[in-house]
């Protein structure tokens, strides 16, 4: 039994990292918004989903133009990433303007409810646009970066099987890491990043220090949503098939990742995302093996939610967060 677990380990790690990278970048969006507004932006998963659709639309559009076939795939990807990220970034800013800003002083329950509402609207709008153009809302994009690479894990030790990697995996992982490093730099080293951290700590004092709080919040939403949208594109590249309902559960998982790492903490979100991706993949590959078929892969969501509940009860500040006490 153990041998079987070990054999597939290299492949599970590879798959887990792919999923984890997606969770991590989406989790960044949650963590940034939560850090600054103490608000769970429920609609963030839907921004991610919109990104996947917008990106796929661009791919289909650009590759449909004859001359574009000449463009190297990698350049194409970068163009689509930038375009999609800008659009979803603006969607995020609009979202904040319309749905959250007017409610900044309302009871906390209310913005949460609008967030759920917005995510329903986004799901349905994307659905009917996709259905209008495609006849079906399950959309399969062009296949990119589908070359296979074999990772010779068996040469390290004969216990392991070789792992197969699609080039897209390296792309997803690479782009995700670049995005995360860039964000980390932005938040910690730039003027706007400092302003962001100031607003997160104390909105009122920050505004007294002549920081334009609304602008900072808009920028936060822009960056978070742009990252979400870009991840959507990566997701579409990696998995090929998308539908309007991928955002909700994935968004929840990313949120769990953010909590796991310590909400409000950017590095925590990255760590949490990677960990969750790995754990989930491990669970779905080995759960039925380890429990003798009593619990199967279908319990992996139970697993993810159980992690959330345990973290919230025993270490609510997460792995990398700092505990805070409520002011009385």
């Amino acid at each position: 039994m153990l041998q079987e677990v070990l054999q597939s380990l290299p492949q599970v790690l590879v798959d887990g990292l792919t999923l984890g990278a997606v969770y991590a970048v989406v989790a960044l969006g949650y963590t940034m918004v939560y850090g600054i507004l103490q608000l769970i932006n429920f609609a963030h998963g839907e921004v991610f989903m919109s990104g996947a659709f917008i990106g796929t639309a661009f791919f289909i559009l650009i590759m449909g133009m004859g001359w574009a076939a000449e463009i190297p795939q990698f350049i194409l990807l970068i163009i689509v990433l930038v375009l999609t990220a800008s659009i979803t970034g603006l969607v995020g800013v609009g979202l904040e303007r319309v749905a959250y800003r007017p409610l900044r002083n309302a009871p906390r329950l209310i913005p949460l409810i609008t967030a759920i509402g917005i995510s329903f609207i986004l799901q349905d709008v994307v659905r009917f646009i996709a259905e209008l153009f495609n006849g079906n809302y399950i959309v399969t994009g062009p296949s990119l970066f589908s070359e296979q690479i074999t990772l010779k894990a068996s040469s390290i030790s004969s216990i392991f099987f070789d792992a197969r990697i699609k080039t897209s995996f390296l792309i997803v992982l690479g782009v995700a890491i670049v995005l995360m490093v860039a964000l980390d730099y932005f938040v910690n080293k730039t003027k706007w990043g400092t302003a962001m951290r100031a607003v997160a700590l104390d909105r009122e004092t920050a505004s007294l220090m002549s920081i334009n709080v609304n602008k900072v919040i808009s920028i936060t939403f822009f960056i978070g949503s742009a990252l979400g949208g870009a991840t959507g594109v990566l997701f579409a590249v990696q998995y090929g098939t998308i539908d309007p309902y991928i955002g909700f559960i994935l968004g929840l998982k990313a949120f769990i990742a953010a909590v796991l790492g310590g909400i409000g903490n950017i590095r925590g979100a990255m760590l949490g995302g990677m960990l969750l991706g790995l754990m989930e993949m491990f669970a779905s590959a080995n759960l039925s093996l380890l429990t003798g078929g009593v619990f199967g892969a279908e319990y992996k969501d139970v697993f993810a939610f159980a992690i959330l509940i345990l973290v919230l009860i025993f270490k609510p500040e997460g792995l990398l967060g700092k505990p805070t006490a409520e002011k009385v």
């Binding site: 608000l39 209310i110 409810i113 609008t114 949120f255 199967g296 939610f305």
Partner: protein, 431 residues
């Protein structure tokens, strides 16, 4: 002109006359033109009008009961559409009861629960498992399926099971604050559904995704209940009990404690309100209303499977509460009725109508935009619009109005353990 009109409407007798006229016209319309969904809806809306009339509460209640128990079933019995009206009315009743349960948790105690349908599922499964052969898979004794009379006992058992589930979920969940609570309850709701969907292995308890079919219909005095109009009365009785209980709770010690916890946890605790116990009670009571209706639902459908208890159901119930007005009992009743009818009747009819139009080529609407598919969009828009522009819902919650006269009469002899009541006149402090 406006003032004059308003003064006309303020006349109680005029209101009564107009109202009676309205009822007579709508019920006659419903009785004679069998397919008129409009008159059915209008007849139902008479209850809403009744709510706004300036009559005594007792009179309103008696009128409402008369409408619900006699007039509505009678007026819709005029034709073969009878059962379908009763089906819709039964579903409305079931959802109202659930929404009232969620209203305790979300509206009164301020705990956003996004996994509420789990309790409905617990109720539905507790009856279905024992009212079919399913139970014999794991029960070493007993003769299954149980007879239809057991339904009545299961109403209570279902409620209790759901309440227990509420407490079990509540204990870990309530250590979590605010927004997290929403996510965790959502997670628990999903966990329960996944478990029901998979509990066919290793022991077959719920029959997994195949669902449980041929649930024994309820029986009373030897009569088997299987038609919607019979379930209508069962639902109505339970609903009346629920409304009664909720109204009692609302202005009691418990209701005030919930609201206090919602308004300010720290202050509530400083006033001696135990947070965990109070919140757990909200969870358990809200869950039990849902569980009872789960039993009714299982008996009515005669078949249940996990697809009836998805996340979307939890959100639907939440939309009802938000639309009607969080914390407001009449509001939530209205919200639940509107959404259920919208879902089951209006959207379906609208889609059929548009289909007819496009079949006949009169106009062509892309299939993607058919109203029945727009349910999520409509819910989303309702949530956003109401949260932004009318956060208190259609009928906002009201505080109980206390009558000064009653409070002034018969003062208690002493205030607190004040021993110096004679020497110090307790009156307004003079400065």
């Amino acid at each position: 002109m406006k003032a004059k009109l308003a003064s006309y409407f303020s006349n109680k007798w005029l209101q009564v006359i107009l109202f009676s006229l309205f009822i007579i016209v709508t019920s006659a319309a419903l009785y004679f033109s069998q397919k008129s969904v409009v008159s059915f809806l209008l007849l139902l809306s008479s209850l809403l009008i009744l709510h706004y009339m300036s009559l005594k509460n007792v009179t309103k209640w008696i009128t409402a009961l008369g409408l619900l128990f006699i007039l509505i079933p009678f007026a819709s019995s005029g034709g073969p559409a009878f059962q379908s009206y009763m089906e819709v009315a039964t579903m409305v009743g079931i959802y109202i009861s659930m929404a009232l349960g969620l209203n305790i948790v979300v509206g009164m105690a301020g705990l956003l629960d996004l996994g509420f349908v789990a309790f409905f599922a617990v109720g539905a499964y507790s009856y279905s498992i024992f009212a079919t052969k399913q139970a014999s898979n794991f029960m070493p004794f007993g003769n299954f399926p149980l007879g239809g009379e057991s339904f009545w006992g299961f109403l209570i058992i279902g409620g209790i099971m759901a309440a227990i589930a509420g407490v079990l979920i509540g204990v870990p969940v309530l250590r979590v604050k605010g927004d997290y609570l929403a996510i965790v309850t959502l997670g628990f709701g999903e966990i329960i559904r996944i478990i029901f969907n998979n509990a066919d292995r290793p022991i077959n308890i719920t029959n997994g995704a195949m669902g449980i079919a041929s649930v024994t219909p309820p029986e009373i005095f030897g009569i088997t209940l299987s038609f919607p109009n019979q379930f209508y009365f069962v639902t109505l009785f339970i609903l009346m009990f629920t409304i009664f209980a909720v109204l009692r709770l609302e202005h009691s010690k418990l209701g005030r404690s919930w609201k206090a916890v919602r308004e300010n946890e720290i202050a509530a605790q400083a006033m001696g309100i135990p947070l965990v116990k109070t919140k757990l009670l909200a969870f358990a009571l809200g869950a039990s209303f849902s569980g009872i209706m789960g039993v009714v639902f299982a008996a009515k459908q005669a078949f249940i499977d996990p697809t009836s208890f998805t996340l979307m159901e939890s959100f639907t119930i939440l939309v009802m509460v938000v639309l009607g007005g969080m914390g407001s009992v009449p509001g939530v009743i209205l919200g639940a009725a509107v959404i259920t009818i919208l879902n089951l009747q209006v959207l379906t009819e609208l889609t059929n109508w548009l289909n007819q139009l496009s079949l006949s080529g009169a106009l062509s609407i892309p299939d993607a935009l058919s109203p029945a598919k727009m349910q999520k969009f409509i819910f989303g828009a309702l949530l956003v619009v109401f949260a932004l522009y009318r956060p208190k819902g259609l009928i906002p919650a009201k505080n109980k109005i206390f009558d000064v006269k009653k409070l002034k009469d018969h003062r208690p002899d002493h205030l607190n353990n004040d021993t110096e009541k004679d020497s110090v006149p307790i009156d307004k402090v003079q400065v």
